[in-house]
C-alpha cells in the first residue's frame, strides 16, 4: 500500500510540476501531446492520474506529519480542475463549457468533502474558526472578509449589469433539421427514404454493406482497405464513382473543406465559422447521406429558419453541379473520411 502511494505521490508531483509549467508558460501545452484519435480518453486518463497522484501525495504528507487540511484539499482540487481546463487542453475551451465543468467540479468537491460528518467538520473548521474569531488573526480575517465580500459582490453585480461591447455569444445549430423532402433539379427527393444511386455492388444493385466494406478502414493510421483503391483505373462500380466524386471534390470543394476534408482549406479561415470538418465524428458520421445531399444542393441560403443562426456561406451547388455529381461527391467524402452514413435498418 505504502509503495503504491509513493508511486502515486511521484506521479502527482511530476504532473503538478508540468501543469504549473504550462500555467506559467514555461512548458508549452503540447509538451505532453494530446494524440489525435486518443484525445478524449487521454484527457480523462490524465485527470484520473492526477487524482491518484493527489491521493498519493496526501497520504505521504500525512505519513510525514504534514497533512494538508481537508479545507485546502477541497479548494486546491477545484482550483486544479479550473487551471487544467484553461492551460492544459488545447485549442482553448470556450468559457461557457469551462463554466459548466467548473460548476460540476465544485459540486463534486462538495460531495467529497461532505460525504460524512467527520470530513464535513474538518472542511468547515477553518471557516468556523474565522467566524468564531477566537484569535487575533482570525478576528482580523473576519473584518477583511466583512469588507471584501460586499465589495466583490458589488463589483460582480456592476460588471454583470454594465453594457458590454463584446461580441454576443452564439448558439449555432450545427445540424439544422432537414425538410421531409427537397426538390433538386425538378425532382423531389424524400430524405427519409432516398438513397445514393452510386452506392452499388458489381451487379449494379444498391448495396450499403458492399460499399461500407470498401471504404478506408477506420483503425488508427487509416489504412486503405485491400484492393479498394479508387484511383486504380481497373476498378469499376462503386470505387469508380468514388474516384469521380474525388475529382469533383478537388475541382470544387477542397478550397474550403481542405485536402484532408478537415475543414481547413485554402480559403477556410476567411470564414467564421470555418467550413465543416468531415473528419470530425460529429459531422457526416452522424448523418444520413440524404441530409448531406440536401445541404450540398441548397447550400447556406437554403437553410430553414429554425436553423438560425446558420452562418453558412456554402453556395447552393444545385446551380453548379448535376444531381449525379452531388451524389458522387458525397460518396467520396464518406470513403475518404472512413465514416459510414447513418442508416435506420
Amino acid at each position: 500500500m505504502k509503495a503504491l502511494m509513493s508511486v502515486g505521490a511521484l506521479v502527482g508531483a511530476i504532473a503538478l510540476l508540468l501543469l504549473v509549467g504550462m500555467i506559467l508558460d514555461v512548458v508549452p501545452s503540447n509538451t505532453v501531446r494530446l494524440v489525435e484519435g486518443y484525445m478524449p480518453i487521454q484527457m480523462l486518463l490524465e485527470v484520473a492520474c492526477f487524482v491518484v497522484g493527489f491521493a498519493g501525495l496526501s497520504y505521504m504528507l500525512s505519513a510525514m506529519g504534514m497533512a494538508v487540511p481537508r479545507f485546502w484539499q477541497g479548494i486546491g482540487f477545484w482550483a486544479f480542475v479550473l487551471l487544467y481546463l484553461k492551460f492544459r487542453v488545447y485549442p482553448p475551451i470556450p468559457f461557457s463549457v469551462r463554466a459548466m465543468y467548473g460548476t460540476v467540479s465544485l459540486v463534486a468537491v462538495f460531495m467529497w468533502v461532505s460525504a460524512n460528518e467527520d470530513d464535513w467538520k474538518k472542511f468547515k473548521q477553518p471557516i468556523m474558526n474565522v467566524l468564531d474569531a477566537q484569535s487575533g488573526a482570525n478576528k482580523m480575517l473576519r473584518y477583511v472578509y466583512l469588507v471584501l465580500i460586499p465589495i466583490l459582490v458589488g463589483f460582480a453585480s456592476f460588471d454583470a449589469m454594465k453594457p458590454k461591447s463584446e461580441e454576443p455569444v452564439e448558439l449555432r445549430t450545427v445540424h439544422p433539421a432537414p425538410p421531409a423532402s427537397t426538390k433538386v433539379a425538378g425532382k423531389t427527393y424524400t430524405l427519409q427514404t432516398s438513397q445514393n444511386p452510386y452506392r452499388v455492388n458489381p451487379e449494379g444493385k444498391f448495396d450499403q454493406e458492399y460499399s461500407n466494406k470498401l471504404i478506408v478502414e477506420q483503425g488508427m493510421g487509416r489504412l486503405m482497405a485491400p484492393n479498394a483503391n479508387p484511383w486504380d483505373e481497373k476498378n469499376q462500380g462503386y470505387l469508380k464513382y468514388v474516384r469521380e466524386g474525388g475529382e469533383i471534390f478537388f475541382q470544387n470543394c477542397h478550397f474550403c473543406h481542405g485536402d484532408n476534408l478537415n475543414g481547413r482549406g485554402l480559403h477556410a479561415f476567411a470564414f467564421n465559422p470555418i467550413p465543416a470538418n468531415f473528419t470530425d465524428p460529429g459531422t457526416i458520421a452522424q448523418l444520413q447521406e440524404t441530409f448531406i445531399f440536401w445541404r450540398v444542393a441548397k447550400g447556406g441560403i437554403g437553410l430553414p429558419n429554425e436553423g438560425f443562426p446558420w452562418a453558412s456561406v456554402m453556395p447552393p451547388w444545385e446551380q453548379h453541379l448535376t444531381v449525379d455529381e452531388i451524389w458522387k461527391v458525397i460518396l467520396f467524402e464518406y470513403w475518404h473520411t472512413g465514416y459510414y452514413p447513418r442508416t435506420w435498418d
Binding site: L34, M39, P40, I41, V47, A48, V51, V89, P91, P92, I93, P94, S96, V97, M100, V104, S105, V107, A108, M111, W112, S114, A115, N116, E117, W120, E166, E167, P168, V169, E170, L171, R172, T173, V174, H175, P176, A177, P178, P179, A180, Q218, G263, N272, P273, I274, N277, D280, P281, G282, T283, A285, Q286, F291, E306, Y340, P341, R342, T343, W344
Partner: protein, 637 residues
C-alpha cells in the same frame, strides 16, 4: 363468524361491482368502436358512394368518416385571446395538470407495493409500519386528486376558450373514446374513495387481500387513463388513422396506436413513478426537518428512504425508455429527431442531461449520508472520493454540448465548429458511456449501503468480494470500451451498442444485488440502522432530487411539445396563431421554473391540508427510539 362471512360476501360483491364498473365504459362504447366494421359493411353495400382515404401512417385504405382538419386563420374565430400569449396560458394549465396527474397516478402504485410488502412480511411491527406508510401515501394523494380534477377542468376550458378549432378537431377524431375517458374518471374516483375510506374496515385477514386487490384495480384504471391521454399527444406528434387532409378513416385503434404511443406510455409510467417517489421523499424530508422528536425523525427518515428507493428504482430504467422513445422518433421522422437531438432543441437536451446527472448525484449523495446512520459503514468512506470522481467524469461527458455556446472570437480560436477533444464527448456514443457509468456507480453505492452495517459470515465471503469487485471493474471497462468503439463503426451498428452497455449496467444491478443478498444472509450486524440519525444535508438532497424531477418533467414536456414546430397536429393541421414559433431557451427555462415553483407552492398547501387531518399512527407504527433494535425495512437487509 357469520359476520365475517357476510363481510367477505359483501367485499367480493364490491370487488365484482368495481370490475363491472371498469368494464362498463368499454361495453357501452362497443358500438362506436365498431364503427370501422360498420364502415366495412357500408363499403360492401355501396362502393360507389363512399370516398376512400389512405392512412398517413399505416398506409391502409379506409372510408372517410370525418371532416378534414380545419385550416385555421389568425383571428378571433380560431384563436380567441386575452391580450396575452394563449400558448403560455395553455402551457401553464397543461403542465400543472400533468404534474398533479403524474403524482396521483404514481402514488397509488407505491401504495399497492408498500401495502403488499406489509401484507407479506412476517414481522408484525414492520407490517404495521408498512401499512401506515401506504396509508400516509394515499392520504397525501387524496387532496392532490381533487386538485388534479380541478386543473383538468381548467385545462379543458382553456382549450375551449383559446384554441376552439384545434380542440374541436381533436375531439372529433377521438370521439369514440372521449366518453370512455370520462367514465374512467368516475371509476377511478369511486375506487379511490372506497380504497381510502375502507382502509380501517379492511385491515385484517381476507378483507385485507380484497383491499389490496382494489389497489390493483385502481392502478389498472389509472394506467388506462394515462394511456388514453398519451394517445392524444401521440396523435399530435405522429398522426395515424387519418388521411393527408386529417379526415378520420373509421379505425379508432389506428388513431390510438400511433408510432410513438407505446414508447410514450412506457416512458411516462416510469417517469410518473420516479416523480411520485421524489415528491413523497421531499414530503418526508420536509417533515423530518420540521420534526421535534426523535420518534418522528426516525419515522420520516425511514419514509424518505423508502420513497427515495422506490423513485430511484424507476429512475434507473427511465433513461433507457427515453432512449427507445428517441429512437422511435428518429424512425418516424428523421427531421423530428434531428430537431430534437442535433438541431433547434439540442441545447435543451444538454439541460436535460444536467438534470439527469443531478438526480443521480443527489441519489448517491443521499446514500453516502445514509451510511452515517449505520455503525460499520465507515470502512467505505475512504473510497467515496473515487466514486465521486467516476460520477463527475461520467457527468462531464454526459453534459458536454455538441454545439457550444461561444463568441465568434472563441470559435475562431478553437479553429472550427467542434472542439477536437471535447467535441467527441458531444455525440451519442460518449454520452451512452457517460450515463451508464453514472448508473453503474449508483448501483455500487446501493450495494455499499445495503452491506454498510453488516459483515458477511459465509465461508466464501472473500471470494465473493473479489468477484464483485472484478465484476464492477469489468463492467466499467466494457461500458467505456464500447463507448470508444462506437466511433469506429456505422451509425446503425453504433445505435445497437447501447444494448450491451445497458445489459452491462442492468447485470450489475440484478446480479450484484442478488449476490450481495446471498452474501449478507445471516451476516453479523455491526449495529442497528439508527433511523433519524442522519444529517440534514441528506434531506436537502431529497428535496433537490424532487425539484430536479419536477424541473426535468417540465423541460421534457416542453421539448416533446415544441418539436412539432408550427403544427398543431404534425403535417396535418397547421398552427396559424401568432405564437407558432419556438421560444428562446431562456424564456422556456423561465417558464418551466415558474411552473415548478407554482407546483411546489401548491403541493405545500396540499401537504398542509393533509396535516390538518393528521391521523394518529396506530401503536407500534412509528419507529422505535433510534438506537434500539428497530425493525429493519426491506432493502436494508
Amino acid at each position: 363468524m357469520g359476520l365475517v362471512t357476510r363481510k367477505k360476501v359483501f367485499s367480493i360483491m364490491a370487488l365484482c361491482a368495481m370490475v363491472g364498473l371498469l368494464l362498463f365504459p368499454v361495453v357501452v362504447s362497443l358500438p362506436s368502436l365498431a364503427i370501422g366494421a360498420d364502415a366495412a359493411d357500408a363499403e360492401k353495400k355501396d362502393e360507389a358512394k363512399v370516398e376512400k382515404g389512405r392512412d398517413v401512417y399505416y398506409k391502409t385504405e379506409g372510408i372517410v368518416v370525418g371532416a378534414p382538419a380545419p385550416k385555421t386563420v389568425d383571428g378571433p374565430k380560431d384563436y380567441p385571446r386575452y391580450n396575452f400569449e394563449s400558448r403560455v396560458l395553455l402551457w401553464f394549465a397543461n403542465q400543472q395538470h400533468l404534474y398533479y396527474g403524474s403524482f396521483v397516478l404514481a402514488v397509488p402504485i407505491f401504495c399497492m407495493v408498500v401495502e403488499f410488502m406489509g401484507v407479506v412480511t412476517k414481522d408484525k411491527a414492520l407490517a404495521k409500519r408498512y401499512d401506515q406508510l401506504a396509508y400516509d401515501f394515499i392520504k397525501i394523494s387524496l387532496t392532490a386528486y381533487s386538485l388534479t380534477a380541478v386543473l383538468g377542468g381548467i385545462l379543458i376550458f382553456t382549450f375551449l376558450t383559446l384554441y376552439p378549432a384545434f380542440f374541436g378537431y381533436l375531439s372529433s377524431i377521438f370521439r369514440p373514446v372521449m366518453h370512455i375517458y370520462a367514465l374512467m374518471f368516475v371509476a377511478e374516483s369511486g375506487t379511490l374513495y372506497i380504497y381510502y375510506y375502507g382502509w380501517d374496515k379492511m385491515r385484517e385477514g381476507f378483507l385485507k387481500w380484497i383491499h389490496l386487490s382494489m389497489s390493483v384495480i385502481l392502478n389498472v384504471i389509472g394506467t388506462l387513463l394515462m394511456f388514453l391521454a398519451n394517445s392524444w399527444i401521440g396523435f399530435m406528434m405522429s398522426p395515424a388513422g387519418v388521411d393527408e387532409q386529417g379526415r378520420f378513416l373509421g379505425n379508432i385503434w389506428h388513431v390510438l396506436h400511433t408510432a410513438l404511443w407505446n414508447p410514450l406510455n412506457l416512458h411516462r409510467i416510469l417517469g410518473n413513478m420516479a416523480f411520485g417517489g421524489g415528491v413523497v421523499a421531499a414530503y418526508a424530508a420536509y417533515k423530518f426537518l420540521a420534526s421535534k422528536t426523535d420518534e418522528d425523525r426516525a419515522h420520516y427518515d425511514w419514509m424518505g428512504y423508502i420513497a427515495m428507493a422506490l423513485g430511484v428504482a424507476f429512475l434507473i430504467p427511465l433513461p433507457f425508455a427515453g432512449y427507445w422513445l428517441m429512437r422511435e422518433v428518429y424512425a418516424y421522422r428523421q427531421q423530428m429527431g434531428i430537431t430534437l437531438m442535433g438541431g433547434l432543441l439540442a441545447w435543451l437536451f444538454i439541460i436535460q442531461a444536467t438534470m439527469i446527472g443531478i438526480l443521480f448525484l443527489s441519489t448517491n449523495y443521499y446514500l453516502w449520508q445514509a451510511m452515517g446512520r449505520m455503525r460499520g459503514a465507515e470502512k467505505y468512506q475512504r473510497y467515496i472520493k473515487y466514486l465521486v470522481f467516476l460520477l463527475a467524469c461520467g457527468y462531464l461527458v454526459f453534459i458536454t454540448p455538441h454545439t457550444m455556446v461561444m463568441t465568434p472570437a472563441e470559435l475562431k480560436a478553437m479553429g472550427g465548429q467542434q472542439h477536437p477533444v471535447l467535441g467527441n464527448y458531444g455525440v451519442m456514443s460518449a454520452k451512452n458511456g457517460g450515463i451508464n457509468v453514472i448508473i453503474t456507480t449508483t448501483v455500487l453505492s446501493f450495494v455499499w449501503y445495503m452491506r454498510g452495517n453488516k459483515v458477511s459470515t459465509v465461508s466464501w465471503s472473500k471470494f465473493g468480494n473479489i468477484f464483485m469487485g472484478c465484476f464492477f471493474f469489468f463492467a466499467y471497462v466494457n461500458i467505456i470500451g464500447l463507448a470508444i468503439y462506437g466511433y469506429y463503426i456505422p451509425a446503425n451498428v453504433r445505435v445497437g451498442l447501447s444494448v450491451p452497455q445497458v445489459a452491462t449496467t442492468l447485470s450489475c444491478l440484478f446480479f450484484m444485488f442478488a449476490l450481495n443478498s446471498v452474501m449478507m444472509k445471516g451476516a453479523k450486524q455491526m449495529g442497528p440502522i439508527e433511523w433519524g440519525k442522519i444529517s440534514a444535508r441528506s434531506q436537502y438532497a431529497l428535496i433537490m432530487l424532487a425539484t430536479a424531477f419536477t424541473w426535468m418533467m417540465g423541460l421534457m414536456g416542453y421539448i416533446r411539445s415544441s418539436v412539432r414546430l408550427f403544427w398543431h397536429v404534425n403535417e396535418i393541421m397547421r398552427d396559424n396563431s401568432p405564437w407558432a414559433y419556438t421560444h428562446t431557451v431562456g424564456f422556456a427555462a423561465n417558464m418551466i421554473s415558474f411552473n415548478v415553483l407554482f407546483f411546489w407552492i401548491s403541493i405545500l398547501f396540499v401537504f398542509w391540508l393533509g396535516s390538518l387531518a393528521a391521523k394518529k399512527a396506530p401503536a407500534g407504527a412509528k419507529a422505535d427510539v433510534p438506537g434500539s433494535a428497530a425493525p429493519q425495512p426491506a432493502g436494508s437487509h
